[in-house]
């Protein structure tokens, strides 16, 4: 749907105008911490896997456990986005996670240079992109 300007199309005429982000459900995990098991947490892990923060294994094998791999992924994510690297799903981190974003991953092979400033080489992406 292309809007020619800010008020050209009444919201009521847009089929998707009430739809939120597919990641809005992640807000339910705010405050979830290491050692917990929460229904649907594997979807958050898939998010981190998709963007390169959980590099190993198939996304279909991810569990609902808040395990070490998830905690490490959150810490790296927090560093990349200039957040306090606590490894916890605090409100600031969750607010960042659910923002719309580019589909290209931030990390490949578990290594990121995103937060390290001025590098000339980056293990950033797979062959596909």
């Amino acid at each position: 749907y292309f809007f020619p300007n800010a008020s050209a199309i009444p919201p009521s005429l847009l089929p998707n105008f009430t739809s939120g982000s597919p990641w809005d459900v992640f807000h339910n995990f705010t405050g979830c911490h290491a050692g917990e098991k929460r229904d649907g947490l594997n979807k958050l892990k898939k998010y981190f896997h998709y963007f390169g923060y959980i590099p190993d294994g198939s996304p279909n094998n991810l569990t609902d456990d808040f395990d070490d791999s998830l905690e490490a992924a959150i810490k790296t994510y927090q560093r990349n986005f200039n957040l306090d690297p606590t490894g916890q799903l605090d409100e600031a981190t969750m607010k960042q996670i659910v923002k719309p974003r580019c589909g290209n991953p931030d990390i490949v092979n578990g290594t990121t240079s995103m937060s390290s400033g001025k590098t000339t080489s980056s293990l950033f992406h797979t062959v596909g992109h």
């Binding site: 809007f3 974003r101 937060s115 400033g117």
Partner: protein
């Protein structure tokens, strides 16, 4: 700024790049103009030029809007979530999520629909990928991975310019005044 693994870039004999829109999308001229403005922002700081062509198959950069699974293994997810993705040089594929509510001109911060996304802002970011830049942690930079809905962010930051000029050098016709810090107009929306 960061680069893709191996620091791929368009070869030296390909500085005048062409781009084309997927014919089946039938984009309005206002949408095409948003892409033209986005390309121009990168052209101002590099020796690269960008020219639209009607020959989709022969274009260096091929732009298409798709829904869901569109065959490259990176399915889109409907409104918001992932907005677009682009491939490293010299692949040239630039895909956008057809299900987004895209604004092509005007003040996106005043959009009545909370899920409205500024097309030019996303295009400037993805063109950075098409030219060889990865994501940046500098929040003001174009190559920062996230952008809220109803937000406009189109000006290259110093971080973006430094990165792209390592790959291609500067625009020989520029007096250097085109580099500007990113100016972002942001209105907090329900999604973040």
């Amino acid at each position: 700024y960061t680069f893709f693994p191996g620091t791929p870039r368009w070869p030296e004999d390909r500085r005048d790049l062409t781009y084309a829109f997927l014919p089946g999308n039938n984009l309005p001229e206002t949408a095409k103009a948003a892409f033209t403005r986005a390309f121009q922002r990168w052209a101002e700081v590099t020796p690269l030029t960008f020219t639209e062509t009607s020959s989709y198959g022969a274009a260096d950069i091929r732009i298409g809007f798709f829904s869901g699974d569109h065959g490259d293994g990176e399915a889109f997810d409907g409104v918001l979530g992932t907005l677009a993705h682009a491939f490293s040089p010299p692949n040239g594929m630039f895909h956008l999520d057809r299900d987004e509510n895209w604004m092509v001109e005007g003040d996106v911060t005043q959009a009545s629909v909370s899920t409205t996304v500024d097309l030019e802002s996303v295009a400037v970011h993805e063109i950075g990928h098409l030219l060889g830049l990865g994501h940046s942690s500098v929040e003001e930079s174009i190559m920062y991975p996230t952008i809220s809905s109803r937000t406009r962010k189109v000006d290259l930051a110093a971080d973006d310019v430094q990165g792209i000029q390592i790959l291609y050098g500067s625009n020989p016709n520029s007096n250097g005044s085109s580099t500007s810090e990113s100016a972002t107009q942001e209105r907090e929306s329900s999604d973040g």
